[in-house]
């Protein structure tokens, strides 16, 4: 594999993952662990593929794929934000159901190699999307330091105090989870439309990436700028394993190379969250905790 191609592939995958990490950072800052992002990615990929084939236009595919990512987030919002059900189990439920839906949608159109999102050239598209992902990180970093960011963080830290100060917890959590769902849909759509990332859509194409994103988010310390670096790093890992196999430098089987991102996600999660995090920075205190008041009005 040529070095330049490898760099472009890493940037492609990296920028896709950055969007996912940003979505997860936003929802986790408001206290919602969006495990349904796996469903958003699967649905986004299938919808983008089906729409691109059907309309013969990858921009429409990108738009519809991104939009469809919100559906799994809605289930999470209904059951875990408005109702008091365990958001981890709800997230996995949502992912499983919408993964099945994604198989149905992906098979509605014939299996054809769809168009790629190529604006003037492959390189230009990759650099452009990479720049957009970096700018999104910077934007989220700035937003989190504004008044709205303070509100989001306060909801994730102590929702009861935030509620007593007049903040509508459900609205903030809903908005951040919807945004996370959008970004999940974008991740799925880009996984199928981005140049140099994947070929034709198949069942289980995006399998597991959503869960990996959730696992590595704590390693970003919920900072969008560190999240961007982490995205590039994970993109590097996913393509490095392929590069190692093809170059023959290290005798590693396909299966062992495929488990590297998962292994790294577990390692980073346990190491950063468990060993270092408590000393460096505290996680949002109300993370994965449902907010239930005995009675509420909206």
């Amino acid at each position: 594999m040529a070095f330049e191609t490898l760099i472009l592939q890493i940037l492609s995958m990296g920028s896709i993952l950055i969007f996912g990490i940003l979505g997860e950072i936003l929802s986790e800052r408001s206290g919602v662990v969006n495990l349904g992002i796996e469903g958003s990615i699967a649905l986004g990929a299938a919808s983008a593929y089906a729409a691109t084939i059907y309309f013969d236009n990858c921009l429409i595919g990108l738009f519809l794929g991104t939009l469809s990512g919100v559906l799994p987030a809605f289930l999470l919002i209904l059951l875990s934000v408005y109702l008091p059900l365990n958001m981890i189990v709800v997230g996995i439920t949502s992912s499983s159901i919408f993964s099945a839906v994604s198989i149905v949608i992906g098979n509605l159109v014939p299996r054809l190699p769809q168009k790629r999102l190529i604006l003037s050239s492959e390189e230009f598209t990759i650099y452009l999307i990479f720049m957009i992902s970096l700018m999104s990180s910077a934007l989220l970093y700035i937003v989190m330091r504004q008044r709205i960011g303070l509100i989001i963080r306060s909801v994730g830290e102590d929702p009861y105090t935030a509620y007593s100060m007049g903040i509508n917890i459900w609205r903030i959590r809903t908005l951040s989870t919807i945004t996370s769902g959008f970004l999940g849909g974008l991740v799925g759509s880009l996984m199928i439309l981005m140049p140099m990332v994947s070929v034709i859509w198949r069942e289980g194409l995006t399998s597991g990436w959503g869960y990996i994103l959730v696992a590595i988010t704590p390693a970003s310390l919920w900072n969008p700028l560190i999240g961007a670096l982490l995205g590039i790093f994970m993109g590097m890992i996913s393509f490095l394993s392929i590069a190692i196999q093809t170059s023959g430098l290290i005798p590693l089987s396909t299966d062992l190379a495929s488990l590297l991102p998962y292994l790294l996600a577990v390692f980073l999660y346990v190491l950063i969250r468990g060993l270092f995090l408590r000393k460096l920075i505290a996680a949002p205190r109300a993370l994965a905790k449902e907010f239930v008041l005995e009675e509420r009005y909206e």
Partner: protein
């Protein structure tokens, strides 16, 4: 003004209420969900009805076999849940247990050593998320879930490069006939119902139901597990030996998972297959039973014997999956996990919470 009223009920629902509500919710959610997905995919309504309402499935030996496997697994996860460990790594644990049987078969170690090896392997593997949760406050759900993929890729590597049975296809050699369980003979009157399940599994299941019901509600170990699930700090202050409680929890669940895996492997094709892309669900050797069993475990946490009923219902759900074919089987296999989890969640909501929705127009 629109209002939502949510309150946790103080009293524990009765067994009859749990059974009725969860049965109704399961039927509505799973059937409606599966019906809509299959119809959307172009399945004929007539075929769908034939699959779902086939009365022969009710007492078929395969339904009973899967009921017993699911029940064994759900009791294993129930012990974990009782100790505060939400173990979503069931798929990986089943695969690793099968690997232990394969190793014992390749090196002629016998059935007893195979079980010991399996139990040790499972304790080590499951201790990673459990210990991380107790001591490092990490998410056990997330770590155990990611472990599934790691375990499945490791198994794939092993059946491709280490213990490859056939050159044409990556799969393990067949398990040695010396490693076997005992089955009811064809002369026996019960053969038509229990012919596909081993005697050992039936005995272990019955003993486990009685033992766990007693252990969790009446003994000091049950009390320690409940304390640990509530808070590590509280358990520690109350004098609970945390490492010992964790070990006992993992040991008991490992024994039950080993029997369930033995049933799946030794009562089936006796080979471990290559699982492309480490698929979880119907594409795996354990058909996604690791997930559905956890949902049963969460629902029957206070009454272990209820898991027998839920296991039977889910086994019927799986018969639907096995009756369908190709592409539809794939959709059903993925959907049934999410739908059964959703039915469990909604049953929890109805049983333990009071929810009132008042829709009024804003003035």
């Amino acid at each position: 003004m629109n209002s939502i009223y949510v309150r946790r009920k103080s009293d524990e629902p009765s067994t009859v209420k749990i059974i009725i509500i969860s049965l109704v919710i399961f039927t509505i959610i799973v059937f409606l969900g599966v019906f809509s997905l299959m119809l959307l995919s172009g399945y004929e309504l007539k075929d769908l009805i034939n699959i779902f309402f086939d009365y022969r499935n009710l007492l078929s030996p395969i339904t009973i076999r899967y009921s017993i496997v699911i029940a064994l697994l759900s009791l294993a996860f129930l012990i974990n849940v009782a100790g505060g460990f939400i173990n979503l790594g069931g798929e990986g644990l089943i695969a690793l247990s099968m690997l232990a049987f394969l190793i014992a078969s390749v090196y002629n170690l016998g059935i007893f050593t195979a079980f010991v090896l399996s139990i040790l392997l499972l304790i080590l593997w499951a201790s990673i998320p459990y210990i991380s949760k107790v001591y490092l406050e990490s998410s056990d759900v997330l770590i155990s879930f990611l472990q599934n993929f790691i375990a499945l890729f490791i198994i794939n590597h092993i059946v491709t490069h280490v213990f490859r049975g056939e050159l044409a296809r990556p799969r393990s050699p067949p398990i040695d006939p010396s490693i076997n369980l005992h089955y009811i003979s064809q002369d026996n009157i019960l053969y038509n119902y229990l012919g596909r399940v081993s005697i050992e599994s039936i005995i272990v299941l019955l003993v486990a139901v009685v033992f766990l019901t007693y252990l969790l509600s009446r003994t000091k170990i049950g009390y320690s597990l409940r304390l640990l699930s509530y808070s590590t700090k509280t358990a520690s202050i109350s004098g609970v030996n945390i490492p010992r409680t964790i070990f006992l929890n993992l040991l008991m669940s490992a024994i039950l998972i080993s029997f369930a895996s033995a049933e799946l492997l030794l009562g089936g094709e006796r080979k471990i297959f290559y699982n492309e892309n480490a698929k979880i669900g119907i594409g795996s050797m354990s058909f996604g039973l690791g997930y559905v069993s956890l949902s049963i475990a969460i629902l029957s946490i206070r009454k272990p014997y209820i898991s027998l009923l839920y296991s039977y219902i889910l086994a019927l759900g799986y018969m639907m999956v096995f009756s369908s074919y190709g592409f539809y089987r794939l959709i059903l296999g993925v959907a049934i996990v999410g739908l059964s989890l959703l039915s469990v969640l909604l049953s929890e909501l109805l049983l333990r919470y009071e929810v009132r929705l008042n829709w009024r127009l804003k003035h």
